[in-house]
């Protein structure tokens, strides 16, 4: 029994070295050599300064930017060191109140009539709290506001959104979407 325990302990140590040290370090080596951009977080830069990761959403509250989805990550949302969903279910009063509040805010910010329904993704929090995307409808809905705010024609802004719509991967995977950070960076480059 004792001998078996010692052997088991040695095997555990050896397999820890193989699967817990050698394997992840080898993969890190491959990643840094072959996919350095992805391996370090797909960071994006403005004037050589990192402004975020193209894969992660960030807070946008100013009227001149496209807004992303509500986020439950961290206290202020989009905490990329504290990913989280709200974990509220469809019968939660707290969720229903939050969604109703968000709908009202979206309607007033973008002057949308009561009869028009709002894309659900724009008023409901994502799973990760870091969702970089909204639906194309959620972006189109903000075009008028941004055009007015920036003094650029609606057509130009609408065209910018259209050029940023990502179609389903390989034609059938996932949903159509717009990366909010990429769209806002392009917006800043207009003019």
């Amino acid at each position: 029994m004792w001998k078996q325990t010692i052997s088991a302990l040695r095997l555990l140590l050896l397999l820890t070295v193989v699967t817990g040290i050698a394997y992840p370090l080898a993969m890190t080596g491959v990643a840094q050599a072959v996919f350095p951009k992805q391996a370090n977080g797909s960071l994006v830069y403005v004037n050589d300064k990192a402004v975020g990761s193209i894969l992660l959403g960030q807070n946008f509250t100013a009227a001149k930017y496209f807004h992303g989805r509500p986020s439950s990550a961290g206290t202020d949302g989009y905490d990329a060191a504290g990913s989280s969903g709200s974990n509220l279910g469809p019968t939660s009063k707290k969720l229903v109140d939050t969604v109703n509040g968000n709908i009202e805010k979206i309607r007033s910010e973008n002057q949308i009539a009561e009869s028009v329904s709002i894309p659900s993704d724009l008023v409901m929090a994502s799973a990760s709290g870091l969702d970089p995307d909204t639906s194309p409808e959620a972006a189109y809905l903000q075009v008028n506001r941004i055009a007015a705010e920036r003094g650029i024609s609606e057509n130009e802004i609408r065209g910018l959104v259209t050029s940023h719509v990502q179609v389903r991967q390989f034609g059938f995977l996932g949903a159509e979407r717009v990366n909010v950070l990429a769209l806002n960076m392009a917006l800043d480059r207009l003019k």
Partner: protein
């Protein structure tokens, strides 16, 4: 709608195309036959045995096999606790994360050792890179290999005759890691990295956002851990949001690779079973029953999420009305598929917050775990769990026609039936008693995030997930309390070893039996009648056991949701 069905079809086709050759390959690996990787792996394997001082040739009876397994897992548990307590002085802790409190460390160790990967912690704020790699990634490999070893031992018990031995635990363990899990993990990590998953040891990156705010971006060796997290049906995320986090699941394509990775080995093991007992049709029959059950679950979950939340619809949002807890890039189809796959297999990774699913969608995820994680199931665990239901099915059929039940020529007698019933009942009892105690205790009710029937579902899901060794959660429940850490840890350990030990006992007693040739009264176990009976008995046992509990949770919640009631 059409693209959704297309996704599901592509998923099934790719799965079967990959699992079939993998099954053949794994049969060779465990039988010690030559494979094309022997030139690389044989020397590594021999070196490991020599350095560890292990005799990997000696055949073991079931008690020796079980004691080796138990000792090895116990040491693994101790190592994971120790590393978490010592992470402040161990390398690769750029964020200076503190030692983990003991109750949480013990819960995490039990969780990863039992292949559950329940997480009462948030990865990015609790675990150093060293802990993630040398403790958690290692147990991802070893707990998966343990499950595979038990399944192989049970198959040997069925295939051998008049012997006491069922193989060598050390050899099954090491071969699972080196021939199967490690090479597959390398391939899958590389696909993930190409698609954008991070893999580094850097400190967290602080940036000024476009709007001028601050954002700190968590980093880490994610891709290497992700690959085995899915292939080993472990499911423990690097980050709190698990496979919803864009660094853990960056694109719709990685999402497809993830669901395929979860099902690949468990499905391959069913094909392997057919190969090892030299009757492939027996394997096809079991797989058919599993896929039948899975198709019903997937269809139900998908339909419920498409139907969405009438309460939100009434508020004035457009369809799909239940986007809470879902990320855009996966779509409803990729979210529903993932939720169905991760709970059918005992994976527990999530790309969708199950707590925010529609009541009936959430019920499907829970019910699949309650059925005993036999709808495809975990690596190894799915196959040996389903074998318990196979025993039960041939026993019930035997009662109906008045003959001694047989399976693959082996008589199923009192000892096997006792063990099979213990293996089926232990997780069920753990789920119901654990939930019952928690709804009566203040400490159990303290952590609820949702009120009303959904709050009860949060507790029921927690014990279901723990006893079924799944690891997903209705994550609103604040489970990082001393009460839940210890209760859930106990449920995970009982749910794991309470099944493994009876399974190995059955393997031992089956190996000793003679094989009688099939006669005119033998019930065929490879036909469609058997497939339907097996699937039916799985559902009946699950429904009889859990219908009352489910009525109090998701079913009543659904009815109240239709009336517009909120809590």
């Amino acid at each position: 709608m059409i693209t959704d069905v297309l996704l599901f079809i592509v998923f099934f086709v790719l799965l079967l195309l990959m699992a079939w050759p993998l099954g053949k390959y794994m049969a060779k690996v465990y039988s010690g036959e030559r494979t094309m990787f022997d030139t690389i792996f044989l020397s590594l394997e021999k070196t490991l045995y020599r350095l560890a001082g292990i005799d990997a040739v000696r055949e073991m009876n079931w008690r020796q096999y079980a004691s080796g397994l138990f000792i090895f897992n116990l040491l693994g548990l101790a190592a994971v606790v120790a590393i978490q307590e010592l992470q402040t002085i161990l390398p690769w802790n750029p964020e200076g994360l503190a030692a983990v409190p003991f109750d949480l460390a013990f819960n995490t160790a039990a969780s990863f050792m039992t292949n559950t990967n329940w997480q009462a912690y948030s990865g990015e704020t609790t675990m150093s890179y060293f802990t993630q790699m040398a403790a958690l990634t290692v147990q991802n490999f070893l707990s998966a290999a343990t499950g595979m070893a038990v399944a192989v031992a049970l198959i040997r018990g069925l295939a051998r005759k008049t012997t006491k031995t069922i193989g060598n635990f050390w050899s099954d363990m090491v071969r699972s890691v080196i021939w199967i899990l490690l090479p597959l993990s390398i391939v899958v990590s590389i696909i993930f990295m190409q698609q954008g998953m991070i893999q580094n040891l850097s400190a967290y990156v602080a940036v000024d956002t476009l709007e001028g705010g601050q954002q700190t971006i968590a980093m880490g060796p994610v891709a290497s851990q992700e690959a085995i997290k899915l292939l080993g049906t472990n499911g423990g995320g690097f980050f709190n949001a698990n496979s919803a986090h864009p660094f853990e699941n960056p694109t719709p394509f990685t999402n497809l690779v993830q669901v395929l990775s979860i099902f690949l080995i468990p499905t391959g093991m069913v094909f392997m079973f057919g190969n090892m007992i030299k009757d492939r049709r027996q394997g096809y029959a079991i797989l058919a029953a599993m896929l039948l059950l899975f198709s019903v679950s997937l269809g139900g979950l998908y339909a419920s999420e498409i139907y969405g939340s009438p309460i939100a619809g009434h508020s004035g949002v457009s369809e799909p009305t239940n986007m809470e807890g879902k990320d855009m890039r996966f779509g409803i189809n990729g979210s529903a598929l993932f939720a169905a796959v991760t709970t059918a297999a005992s994976c527990g990774a999530v790309n969708t917050m199950h707590d925010s699913l529609t009541p009936l969608g959430g019920m499907v995820t829970m019910l699949q775990i309650m059925l005993g994680e036999v709808v495809i199931g975990g690596v190894g665990a799915g196959l040996y769990g389903m074998m318990m239901f196979v025993m039960l099915t041939v026993f019930i059929v035997g009662l109906m026609v008045g003959r001694t039940p047989e399976y693959l020529g082996k008589k199923i007698e009192a000892n096997e039936m006792k063990m099979a019933i213990i293996a089926i009942l232990i997780p069920a009892v753990t789920i119901l008693f654990g939930s019952a105690i928690s709804v009566m205790a203040d400490a159990g009710l303290a952590g609820l995030n949702n009120a009303g029937p959904h709050g009860f579902s949060e507790i029921l899901y927690a014990f279901t997930s723990a006893a079924g060794n799944n690891g997903s959660a209705f994550a609103g429940l604040s489970a990082n309390t001393v009460y839940y850490n210890l209760m859930i840890a106990a449920a995970m350990l009982i749910g794991r070893f309470g099944v493994i030990i009876p399974v190995l006992a059955i393997a031992g007693s089956l190996a000793e039996k003679r094989v009688s040739p099939p006669g005119p009264g033998t019930f065929p176990t490879a036909g469609s009648l058997f497939v339907l009976l097996l699937a039916g008995i799985v559902i009946m046992v699950g429904a009889l056991t859990f219908l009352p509990a489910l009525s109090l949770g998701p079913i009543i919640e659904h009815l109240l949701m239709l009336q517009g009631v909120t809590f």
